[in-house]
Each structure stands twice: as structure tokens, then as C-alpha cells.
Amino acid sequence: MKSTPLTEKHLALGAKMAEFAGYNMPISYAGIKDEHHAVRNNVGVFDVSHMGEFIVKGKEAEALLQKVTSNDVSKLEIGDAQYSCLPNKEGGIVDDLLVYRLDEDQCSEGEKAFMLVVNASNIEKDWNWIQENNDFDNKMFNISDRTGLIAVQGPNATKVLQKLTEVNLAEMKYYTFTKGKVAGLDNILISATGYTGSGGFELYVQSDQLAALWDAVFDAGKEEGIAPVGLGARDTLRLEMGYCLYGNDINDTTSPIEAGLSWITKLKKGPFNSSEFFTEQKANGVNRKLVAFTMEDRRVPRHDYIIENASEEAIGVVTSGTQSPSLEIPIGMGYVPPSHSKIGSEFYVVAGKKKLKATVVKAPFYKVAKA
């Protein structure tokens, strides 16, 4: 099992640890609910160093990314980030990812540079997939092992981090980034992104500087009561927003059109992997759709529970479910036929011997108050 540069810190904090994607990761510290509320109402810090980072650099870097990703990379200015996915050639998803268009200070004339941030469990698969598709003039670097990443999230994230940097954080727009000095450490990539819906930043740093950055962030946030947050609350936070988790809600066999990711599937940008398949799905409709639902019962829906219609026929499957700490009700996502996908549609989730009534709702489950 791999560790992150912060594993010792997590152990010292008394975190409950477990293996995730081959890494020894913190699941929770004070308890999932407390950590969840810390992010929704204050500020919390996640170690997400297990995530993978690739650099793609070259004269045809954009052409490669236009071919392998579903979103339109040509729309990115330097300093922009974009949510996207890597379609396979059968209409499924190899991975979902963030694409950053980097500064060109390391580039020769005519070159562009991008950073791809991918799921830890898919680093090798994604690398091989993009390599296979790289019939262009580009260089690729896997910098995952030397890149650390923490996410500082919540309504007080800006206030806490501003104490550590001269970069004007409040001015940074969502899904943009900049490089700057944080806590005396040079060259930190400060990204106004996250997986919680509560705002904040993700900080990419050289692995050997991550522990110093972590300590500085906790010192700066002492006054605010900043809290460490584990992967348990990361899951409840993302699910309340209706964000997909690779391996649960999307995988090699689900299409972005089925998963409600049409907004990152830009069919007009020109051909890309599976674009014809997606165009056809758009035109003719899909056989299943990912929906968000709530339950009448107190029982919690879980990944792989079967979904039935009123005639007790299996029509779908739950992909994610949890007890929502913000709403204090069970919430879930799953695939159902279009006939059962409209807001207000009802179906039944099979939990052991019980069949629990569920109602389709509009995501996100939780609406974050705008500052």
C-alpha cells in the first residue's frame, strides 16, 4: 500500500485509515458528520494527494486532448480549468478528469501545455489510454508521484488561505487557477476548484513541500477552527451536490449522455473518441439515465441495490447512496429507464427484504447559499 506525504500527520491526528485506490488514506477524523458540517459551514482540509497528474506538452497537445476528452479544450485560456471525461471507443468512460491549460513558460514556439488530473484508481489505465491515442507530436509526463494535493474547502476557505498568500483569492473565478507563493513556498498551483460544492481551493505542490503547506494551513485556520476532513465526508459532500464518482456512477460502460454529462460532451467541436455514438444517443435517446432520488423510508440506498418498478420488475440499479448530513435524509443516485427519470417519478429500491419507495428529484440535493 502506498502512503501520501501526509500519512504520518493523519495517524498523529488519530484518523481512521483505510486503503483507497492502493493508498493508505484517511476516511475520517472526528466523524463523517462533523467533518461534513465543517466544510458546509466553515472550512475543512482534505489530503487528496492520491490523485494522478499528467503533463501534456507539444505542438499538438490541444489536438490530442480534443481527440481523447469530451469537452472543448480550445475554449481554455491559460489559467482556466475544465471538467471533462475520457470516452473509450465503445461509448463508455475511461475516467473523468480536470484539464488545466498551463502557462507556456516551459514551451517552445507553437507549443501548448496542459495538466490532466485523474482519479487515483485509474492512473495507469488513463496513462496507457492517452498514450495509445497519442499519434501526435507531443510529450507526456506522469508527475503523480512527485505532486501533492490538498483541498481547502468551505465558506471560510478564502479567509484562511488569504493569510498565507498575496494572490488575491477572492478575485479568482470558479474553475480558474494561478501559480503563486503560499506560506513562503514558491510555485504552488492555486486552483479555484473542488468536489464539495461549498467553494474553496485545491493546492498542487511538490510532494516534499506538502507537509509544510499542510501545517501552515492549519496554523492559519486555527482561529476559524479549521478541520481535517477524510474521504468519508468527501463522498457525502459530493453526493449532496449530485457529482458523479468514477467507479460508482460512471464507468467503462456508462456513456456521458446517460450520466447527465451532456454539458461536458461537446459534439460540435469536431470528431473525438465515440463522438458519433454520442451524437446518435443525443438524437435517438438513451435507454437509461442517471437520476437523483430521495426516499420516504429511513433506510439508506447503497451502491448496487436493485431498482424495481411498481410491478416488481428490475428496471435499474443504485450507483451511490448515503445519509445526507446536511438534509438528514437518505439520498441516492442510480440508472433508470427514461420512463422513470422525470422529476417526481417513483420507483422502488430493494434493500434486503424491503422495497423502499423513492422519488426522482432535481440535483443538487443540497443548495449552497450564495455568499
Binding site: K16, I27, S28, G31, I32, K33, G232, D235, T236, R298, R299, V300, R302, T322, Q323, P325, P330, A351, G352
Partner: protein
């Protein structure tokens, strides 16, 4: 880890204790509640039913996971702890706070008290969770 000596334990991380003659009280262990994390709901709909050893008599829901509850011995489910019952106390975290005390889950009428002899002592249980 808190493992009272006067209880019997199961591989399903439950404890049971004879209360009086053939009536026993049972719940989940300190280890189990710590692994599950904060409980959000306890469901027992088997009061009045006589169940075989190993049968599911209820379910606990934590934020992250769901776990069934199994009969440690055969018997009739007599009472569901009102502190946990959603229609009464509705306080499932009593199990997190006090798994051997106010977080007990059900009382049962044990069919054959000798079945308790097959369960583990505190020492034996300790060896499987540490």
C-alpha cells in the same frame, strides 16, 4: 477497547447477556460501532417473532454503510430498545455513546440457554478484533 467480561460475543460483532432466567439483552460491540461510525437509523421489525440462530432480526444504518443484525442464539424477539426506536427516542447514536448500556438493541427470550455456551468470551472475541 471496551470488552466487558460478563458478556458473550459473536463473530458478527454482537454481544449478549442473560438478564434473568431465559431473557437476554443484546447489542453490537464497541468495535462494531467504531467501525460503522455514527449510526443514523436502527430498524427492528421482528418484535414478537421467533427466529433461528443466525437469522436477521434488524438493520443498522450508518452514514457510510448498512449492516444487518443477526440472532446470536435462537429465540423470540421481545422488545426493541425504545431509546433507538424511530417512533420513540429515535436516538441511534446511543449505540455509539454506550454500546453495552443504553445502546442495547433488543431483548429476546432464549429458546435454549445452552446455545450461549457456543459463543465467545471477552478474551476470545478480543483475539479476533485486535
Amino acid at each position: 477497547m471496551n470488552l466487558p467480561e460478563d458478556l458473550k460475543y459473536t463473530e458478527e460483532h454482537e454481544w449478549i447477556k442473560i438478564d434473568s432466567e431465559n431473557v437476554a439483552v443484546l447489542g453490537i460491540t464497541d468495535f462494531a460501532q467504531s467501525e460503522l461510525g455514527e449510526l443514523v437509523y436502527v430498524e427492528v421489525e421482528t418484535v414478537g417473532e421467533t427466529l433461528e440462530k443466525g437469522a436477521v432480526f434488524g438493520t443498522v444504518e450508518a452514514v457510510k454503510t448498512t449492516s444487518d443484525l443477526f440472532m446470536p442464539v435462537s429465540g423470540e424477539v421481545l422488545e426493541f430498545n425504545p431509546e433507538l426506536n424511530e417512533n420513540e427516542g429515535d436516538n441511534p447514536t446511543a449505540i455509539n455513546d454506550d454500546p453495552y448500556g443504553k445502546g442495547w438493541i433488543v431483548k429476546i427470550k432464549v429458546s435454549d440457554v445452552a446455545e450461549l455456551d457456543d459463543l465467545m468470551s471477552a478474551d476470545a472475541y478480543k483475539s479476533i478484533v485486535s
